[in-house]
């Protein structure tokens, strides 16, 4: 897909989002909050445009009443092959991982210039405006595999890299290849309609490789040349109200 592909690792992790199957239930968002220690900021801050969720579901209305239908478009970091966020960071806090082919955000390095967030055409990056607060009993369920971020730094969807790493290491220690569907980011795991599918595009037998061949496949703002790793499927006559 992009020049970054010539590297040591054979995996090319991609996500497929079937827009025709999405009901806009928001389970992916909730799962992401729980998995990635995302702070809950409250109604007032959300009204200011400061919700911290790494996934958002955009809702669009199509048609005129009474023939109206809702379309739901879940958008998370597109893990671009040619990511606009990467070159603008002055301190290499965001860069392209040669092994996972995704955009890494190094929290410890970030100084908070927010240039990456401006330059993201998908507006998927979120900033820690304040220190995170986890009111009781939420602090009991923080995920020990994920850093809790401090104020003043940038964060975004990581494709649940902690889960990718865990499966990779398990498979390596057991001396076997990774099975299709073995890696499941929290949002994919939680999606009740299986609208979200995750897998290795380089494995020709994987589900994502098959879905990527679909006539319905497209990628967001493809004309910008960002080479996203999230593939959307749309075109069926799904009707959700």
């Amino acid at each position: 897909m992009s020049s970054h592909n010539e590297s040591v690792n054979e995996h090319r992790w991609v996500m497929v989002v079937d827009v025709d199957k999405c009901t806009g239930c928001g389970a992916c968002i909730t799962a992401c909050y729980a998995e990635n220690n995302i702070p809950i900021v409250g109604e007032e801050e959300i009204q200011k445009g400061r919700h911290m969720g790494w996934v958002r579901i955009e809702r669009y209305w199509e048609g005129e009443y009474p023939n109206i239908r809702a379309r739901f478009l879940p958008i998370m970091c597109q893990q671009c092959g040619e990511a606009p966020c990467e070159p603008v960071c002055p301190v290499f806090a965001t860069y392209h991982s040669a092994t996972e082919h995704i955009n890494i955000q190094v929290y410890n390095r970030c100084v908070g210039t927010r240039f990456c967030a401006n330059n993201c055409p998908y507006i998927t990056r979120v900033f820690n405006w304040y220190d995170p607060v986890f009111p009781e009993p939420l602090h009991e369920q923080l995920n020990p595999d994920v850093t809790v971020r401090s104020r003043g730094i940038m964060e975004k969807c990581t494709f649940c890299i902690q889960r990718i790493r865990q499966v990779e290491e398990d498979a390596k220690s057991e001396g076997r290849p990774i099975e299709d569907g073995e890696v499941q980011p929290a949002c994919v795991q939680a999606c009740p309609t299986e609208a979200l599918v995750f897998g290795d595009l380089n494995d020709p037998n994987s589900k994502v490789a098959r879905l990527a061949q679909s006539r319905r496949a497209f990628r967001l703002l493809e004309d910008l040349g960002t080479e996203p790793a999230v593939i959307y499927l749309k075109g069926g006559d799904a009707h959700v109200v």
Partner: protein, 481 residues
Amino acid sequence: MSSDRKHVQELAHLEQELKASDLLLDRRSREEMNYEVMHAMERISLGWLLAAFVLGGLVFLGLGLAWAYQIKWGLGVAGINRPVFWGVYIANFVFWIGISHAGTLISAILRSVGAEWRRPITRAAEAMTVFALIVAGIYPLLHMGRTWRFYWMLPMPNQRVIWPNFRSPLMWDMMAIITYLTGSMIFLYLPLIPDLAMVRDHSKTKLRKRLFQVLSLGWRGTEPEWKHLHVAMTIFTFIIIPVAASVHTIVSWDFAMSNVPGWKSTIFGPYFVVGAIYSGVGALGVVLVLVRKFMGFQYYLRDQHFDNIGKIMLTMTFFWTYFWFNGYLTEWYGAETALDFLREFMTYRGGAAPLFYGMLVTNILIPISLLWSRAGRTTPWTLALAGISINVGMYLERYIIVPVTLSRNRFPFMWGHYVPSPVEVLISIGSLSLFILLYVLLSRVVPLISVWEIQEGQVMHVIRRVGQTLVPGVIHWHKAE
């Protein structure tokens, strides 16, 4: 006999007219001039103390308390949000970098082309550059999420073994600003040395004598010293022009190198340079009017200077209008959907329309109407009004480029709304106060008028009698070197 007397009278009248028209022909003795400048400099009035005190208080409130509050709680206390990740801090940054341009660039260009009328205004202009850059330099720090980690952007050996990312326009920006600040400080200091020596020789208290002894670097005014000074100033004059032009181009690249609709424009480089000079000359006009009023420099700053500054302002008005229109028209013609959203927001009855139309009125209409006539340019208050109007307009322009542009994007679901928070307003007031305070303090430490350069100019300019009339003449002494 009577016709002869009439002729003598006519000549005397002509001489008066020539002297009134040009400071350099209106010679005054060095002692008189030194005394006047020293007197203006050493007089500490109640009004001055009050101004310094109030400004100092505002600086403490804005850049002290408000900033500390922001560092303590996080950038949430500012009005920025998603998608408007950059707000007034960046608008202020660009604004102050712009102000810094008039000084050094104007002074250097006027020096390099040998514009003699520049002599009394260069010092005030060069000081403006240094102070505006200091204020501008605070903003990137202010704006960072983790200010206390700012040194991670400096290219220096560190234990993390990470070099800064030189692909980032922010890195270029930091390099450019540090270069420009260093260069413009030297450029301010070099022509200051002979005047500092003059102040040393005329200071009465022991403390001041000691201070200026150090500052004037032991200047004695010998022939080799003058020669070295002139050589150094010539070199710096020609170094500082490309540096200044590159600085604002690089500031524009912070935007133009991005992917953001409304920012990724190829005209931004020259457009920003022109805008910077425009706002800078406007500010210089205001500063000169104030210096003349509060320092009592009516003899030094005359109609001729305001007329010329006004002409530069007017020229820059046309330049800016041309560049702005060029950028706007080509983007409109391109009909990019995301930009259509932005134009809808900025024009007609959109939320940002008052800012957009306000920018056009204050940047084009008001300056042109005020500066069109000689009377408008030479009346101090109309010139100052034009300068203020230009700076309001240029601030609106930067505000439109930063938060207004960011609040519209390719995803209507993610459109935003930005209002500056009280913390941002306090910090902005604090930084403006810092700029004025530095100027107020400087006015009591160094002569705001380059005394030796005026004296040099007055030696070089003479009124000669040629036939039946008088003409101004110039002695080209540097040819003799």
